[in-house]
Each structure stands twice: as C-alpha cells, then as structure tokens.
C-alpha cells in the first residue's frame, strides 16, 4: 500500500506548524532547539516528497546539505547554551534580553 504525496506534505506542514508554535511559546532554550530541529526536518520531509513526486534527485541531495548544516548549527547553538548555563544557571530564553534596545 502506498500513500499519496499529499499525506507526506500534510504531515510535513503539521510538523512545521508544531515546531513553529513550540518555538514561539516555549521558553526553555533546549526545547526551542528541538522545535527548530522539528521544523528543519519538516522541510526535509517536503524535499524528499517532492523529490519522489517529481523524480528529481536534487531534492534528496539538498536534504543532505540541510542535515549537515543543521548538525553544525546545533553544535554551535548547544555550545552557546552551555556557556550561558554556566553563568546563569537557567535556560530560559526570556532572561537573555541584554540586547534590548
């Protein structure tokens, strides 16, 4: 049995929406990171889906790039989080508003 491409795209949209909503409402930095990952992977899912639908390998190649960049971003982001955690003992994003204009 195989599902139509629309299902995959719908799933990706739902995942992306959950991720975006989580990013907006949660304050814990780690959770926000997970939300970002969720959104990135939702995007990856659409890439793969379209790649299969259109018989174009380029979409899957892009997914690899996205994975690599996401991994790098997580490394940097977690590094920052650890550095902040050492100074502040909390990981609430709203506490970090020292760049307020």
């Amino acid at each position: 049995m195989s599902l139509g491409g629309g299902w995959y795209l719908g799933l990706a949209a739902v995942l992306f929406g959950i991720g975006a909503l989580g990013l907006l409402v949660r304050r814990n930095v780690l959770v926000m990171f997970m939300c970002i990952e969720l959104m990135l992977n939702a995007a990856n899912l659409t890439f793969v889906t379209f790649s299969r639908m259109l018989n174009d390998i380029a979409g899957q190649v892009l997914v690899f790039f996205v994975l690599v960049v996401a991994a790098a971003e997580v490394v940097v982001g977690l590094g920052i989080v650890v550095a902040i955690f050492r100074r502040r003992t909390s990981t609430t994003a709203d506490d970090l508003h020292s760049l307020k204009g």
Binding site: L23, V25, R27, D94, L96, H97, K100, G101
Partner: protein, 625 residues
Amino acid sequence: MPLLPLAGFAVLVAGGRRIGDPRAGWVGTVAVAGSFVAACITLAGLLNVTPASKRVFTQTFFTWIPVGGLHVKVALLVDPLSITMCMFVTGVSMLIHLYSIGYMKGDRDYSKFFVYLNLFVFSMLVLVLANNLLVTFVGWEGVGACSYWLVAYWFRRESAASAGKKAFIYNRIGDTGFLLAMFLIFSKVGSLDYLTIFSHRQLLAGGTATAAVLLLFLAATGKSAQIPLFNWLPDAMEGPTPVSALIHAATMVTAGVYLLCRMNQVLALSPDARWVVAIVGGVTAFVAATIATSQQDIKKVLAFSTVSQIGYMVLAVGSEAYIAAIFLMVCHAFYKGLLFLGAGSVIHGLDDEQDLKRMGALRKFLPWTYGTFLVGWLSIVGVPPFSGFWSKGDVLTNVYAKSKPLWALGVVTALLTAYYMSRLFFLAFYGKDRWAEALGDQPAHHNPHESPWVMRVPLVVLAVAAAAGGVLDLPWVHHDSFAHFLQPVFATSLFDANAHPLNQWVLALVDAGVALVGIAVAWQLWRVRVDRPALEPPFLQRVWYWDDFYDAAIGRPGQALARFSATVVDGRIIDGAVNGVATLVRSASTGVRRLQTGYVRNYALGIALGLAAILVFVASRTWWS
C-alpha cells in the same frame, strides 16, 4: 636678454646666503648690467634694419599651450616699442641694483632682496618682450608677485605686511580685467598673438573693441595706480626705497601704460573708450597732485607724484599720443627714479627718518644728494631745458589738440606739481636743521652723513639722464628722433598734425610759466615756515577720503556679509542642517528602538508572521491570476 636676470635669480636663490653681504648684490647687478648690454646690442641691430617698417622680429622658443584652437607660443617680439622699454628698464634697473648694494647694506636678508629684484627684472622683460597677451600676462603677474614680496619685504612690520597685501589685492582686481579682455579678444579673433590681433583687428570693431579696451584699461588702472585703484601705491612705500624707485616709480607701474600702447591698434577702434581713458588719466593726475601737496612723508609725496605723472601718461594714451606717453614714461623713469633714490639717500643719511617736517637744511650735509635732487626736481617741475619740460610739454600739446578742458586740467596739475615738488625740496634741503631738535618722544638725530659711492654713482648717472633726456625727442627735430623711431609701431599720432608752430611756442611758454609760478609760490610759503595747517587740510591728507570711502562702501559691507555668513548662514543654516539630520535620526531611532525587545520569541514571531504574509501573497498570486 631676460635670461641673464633669471640666471642671476637662480644663482642667488641657490647660493645667495653663502655668497654673502656685498657680493650677492654684485652678482645681481652684473646680471642686469649684462642684459642692459644685450638690449643695447639688440637696439643697434634694430637700427641697422631699413626701412623702419621692417623693424619687427619674433623669436619663438617653444609652444607652451597647444590646445584646440589655442596655440600659445613662448616667443619674444622685438620692435621699436619693446626695445625702448627694454633699454630703460634694464638701464634704470642696473643703476638701482647698484644703489641697493649700498642701501641694503647690513640687512638681515640681503641676498633675498636681490633675488626678488632679479626676478622682478626678468618678469618685467618678459612682460615687455612677449609677443602675445598670455605671455605678457605671465610677466604681468610676475612683476605683481615681486612687487608684493618687495613691498612686504620688511614683513616683520605690521604696516609693511598689510601694504603688501593691499597692493596685491588691488592688482588682482585689475588682473580680472586683463583676463576678461584676453577671453574676449580670443573669442573674437581666435588668437592672442599681438601681430595676429592687429592684422585681424576689424573682427573687433564696434562694441567689442570698446569692451576690450575698457577691460584692458581696468588692468592698467590696477597696475599703474589710476583712479579707482590708485590707493595701493602710496602704501607700497612701506617697501625699501630702491624698490619704490624701481618698481613703484620707474618700471612696473608703467606696465599698464605700456599695455595700452602695445594695444594701440585696438584702441584706435574705439573713440569712446579713448575718452574714458583720457578723462580718467587727467582726473587721476589732478587728484593725485592735490593730495601730494599736503603729505608729510617724503616718500608719500613722491608716490602721489608718481600716480599723477602716470595719470599724464594715461591722458596722453587717451589722446592717442602714444609716443608722447612713452617719451614721458622714459623721462619719468629717469627723474622719478632719481628723486626716489635721492629721497632714499636722505632717509639713509638721517637714519630712516621720512618725515619732511623733521628734515631741513640738508644741502650743507648732503651735497651730492642735494645736487642730483636739484636736477630731478627741476626736471619733474618742467623747467626748460630739463627732460620733464620736453616730455610733459609733448603730452600737453597733444592733449590740447584732443580737448581744451583736459588740457586746462593738465596745466593746473602741472602747477600743482611744481608747487608740491618745490615744497618737498625746500622742506628737505632749506630752512632750519629741524632734525637736530627732539620732537615729542623722538630724540634728535645726529648730523646726517652722505651716502657711499655705490649710491652716489647711480644718482649722478640718473641726474645726467634726467637733465638730458629731452634730447631724445626735441619738437623741432624730425629725423633720427625718438618719435621717428617709434612711429612704425603706432597706428596714429596726433603729434605735429594739429599743433600750429605758434601754438607750440605758446603752449611751451605756458608750461614753463606755470612751473616757475609753482616754484615761486612754494618758495614764499615753505622756505622758512614749516607749519601751515590751512594748506594741509585733512581732506587732502587723508587722500580725499578714498580709503575711508572704500572702507565704508566695500570693507564694512564685506565684513557685515562675512559676519552674516558666519552667524546666520554657517551657524543657522549649515549647522542647522547638520544638527537637524542628527536630531531626526535620533528621534526616529528612539521610536524604532522599542522593536528591539531582546526576547527571542518576539523575533521568532516576526519571522513567522513575515513568512505567513509571504505565503499568503504567493498563494494569492497563484490562485487568482
């Protein structure tokens, strides 16, 4: 010929300080003497050429500015007019260089003085010998610059520095006229070359010629110290006396007259402009003569006298008596140079005293100066047979043919000239020895001493020239005379054409009579007494309030404008604009700053909303198109 002074200039610039006190002066003098000899040789060569109309030579060195239709060559034009100028410029310069060796002795910048003098002679020769207007202009600016340096030579003195500035600024006003005249002529004729301009002068006919002549005349009023730009010359007396003699009496100030004579073929096209020239010259001669009657400073009297004499030359030019103008110029160079050098000798002898009221009885102490000054005095006053009589008579005869009122003005001026020069002479050399008394806070001078021989020799040579200069152009000599020599250069000359021989005799007698009357009046008034306030009204002492007028009409409004610019334009408008931009940016950024909350979720919301907006836009374009 001009290269020798340039070489002298270069040598003195390079090693003047090392060459030292008297020798630097000798280097300069020898350089100028060399060019005098060169001028003599050229003159002899020119005289050998016959017929006289062929006596025009152009020597091209290189093309200076080849741009489009403008080809300016650095070239010299040798013709009777330019060689005449060269003769007396180099001759008088040589004598004054020699004189300066003695006069400037012990000055701290001795060699620098000769640097400037040599550069001046070079510039003057360039001015005189140039074959086109632009090269003349180079010389014109060169002499102007040297004049500035030399007037402000004792620049540690405040008044000398500001006099230099004044001279320079007045000259700049005139130079504007020169430049505009050049543009005008080039736009009409397409060339700046004198000979080309003359052969195409019909292109300038009508209003153009009038405009060109008036612009050139503006230049001449600046350089030759005529109304309205004459005020700088008396102030220029702040310079050392040899400078006053060389630049501000004999050579540079006659450059304006020379320019007008050189452009005589253009002047011939415009009777209106000639009237302006003649009237300005006559009025200047008169005004300056009245001022000279009441000046205290010996050099100021001579300065106003120079202005007045140049007024005569300009009057002659306006009357188309170019030959008379040049003749007077040459004679004036002799006797006014002599008078200035004599005054310098007096000042030198009295340890830099320039006030006539503190002189007197000098004839016993300065016999050489007295004797030569006597000759200069009789020349300028116009007593026959000295040169001034012939040259001034020549001018007045021509003016008589042009216009009777101007002639009358000239005769009155001659009377005033005789009066003020005699006043100067009697105050300085006769009466009591007032220098021996202390005056106010100024101590008495010790006995004056006669100048060294290097200063006396030029005095004697110039005295001979001033006495005998009239021989150049006696009215009854028609061949081999000065006028005959210069004739080919000029388009017209009124001389001999309109004056009846009997008229000439009458006019000459009038001149001589006026001179004697002037002397007699001054003898009565000034031989014994020194103090006659009624004859020295403040109106004349303050130069007809010309300077005050310029101060009120130009200086004050100029300052007010500058102040207005400083406070209102600069303070409010320009600073206001700058500060206004800053204030605007600050208030705008204070508003925008509130967006920068520092909360990540706010930013994320912004991104999400923006994304949503883009999606809606793309979707709407996809579905409804």
